[in-house]
Amino acid sequence: MLRINNRGQILLLAITIFTSTLLFILASMSKPTPKLTKYVGELQSSMILQISREYVSHRSRNMYIDLDSLIYDLYQYNESLGIFISRLSYLYSNYTDLNVNNGYGNYTLTWNVTYPYLNNRVRFSFYWNYSFLNYYYRNIEGIVVKYSNYSLYIEHTYICPQFKVIIHPCIYAVERKVVDIKYVGNGVWIIGIPTNTIQKFVDEYEIKFKVKG
């Protein structure tokens, strides 16, 4: 009787081994197919930060862009492409204080990304400030014009749980022939603008801002 039980157990084990081996062989014979990773990290935050920058760029130039529509598109891409963007809510704020001696401003878009068990904050911010240095005179087509020299600082800040990146973008003046620009380094520029004028500048990501001379 004991012997019959033993034989049954051995048969069961043999069947298990045989089945497992067969499954392994079949799995290794199957054609490799691409797997979509479920790694959620820097890439998802970057997508959100990129549309934030686009939004700020449009808003700074008084151009219309529907952020809710972009969010809806991202949700659609979750279904069609598998980009793993979670539920999003946002808050936009901007502030400018432009004076003759100094001034500053920022455009900020803050996101709350809601995952099943945690909330992440993602933020894009464009910030600039300037302060008066001195006066100088410039001859423009025979007319002597009084100019104000300013030190101007520009930065983009990208913040998410995975990183904090600060970029100092390149800028140019809308009225290139009128404004003098020189890059010093680390986001600092020396700009010369005609006194008592407001000059518009655009950075390389097409975000517009003003300096009051």
Partner: protein, 113 residues
């Protein structure tokens, strides 16, 4: 008779060990695929920084940037394969979209497993 029983027990022991080994192999395989590989995380970070630094996604520039990483085996932009390496074995994809001048660009990057 007693000798036969001992032999059966011996065979049974070996078979049980084999079953254990198979379970360990299964567990190892499933663990291996449930964690992202280093190259996948590296490529993910690389693309993320590229997105932050660029206003527009220019295909040639983007492909050139990713080609520096030998783990990248495939790049598809808007469904069109723009780069692939020969002998693509098993790979995992990183999918994302880029807002290029108010128009979405769909990008799939295949990373070697």
């Amino acid at each position: 008779m007693l000798c036969g029983d001992k032999r059966m027990k011996h065979i049974e022991g070996i078979l049980i060990s084999i079953v254990y080994l198979i379970f360990i192999a299964y567990a190892y395989t499933s663990m291996r695929y449930s964690f992202s590989s280093c190259s996948l995380v590296e490529v993910n970070k690389g693309i993320a920084y590229y997105i932050l630094q660029h206003k527009y996604l220019e295909i040639e520039d983007f492909v050139q940037y990713l080609k520096n990483n030998p783990s990248v085996v495939l790049i598809k932009i808007d469904g069109e394969t723009v780069y692939y390496t020969e002998n693509i074995q098993s790979y995992t994809t990183l999918n994302f979209v880029f807002l290029n001048d108010s128009k979405w660009v769909e990008v799939i990057v295949g990373v070697k497993d």
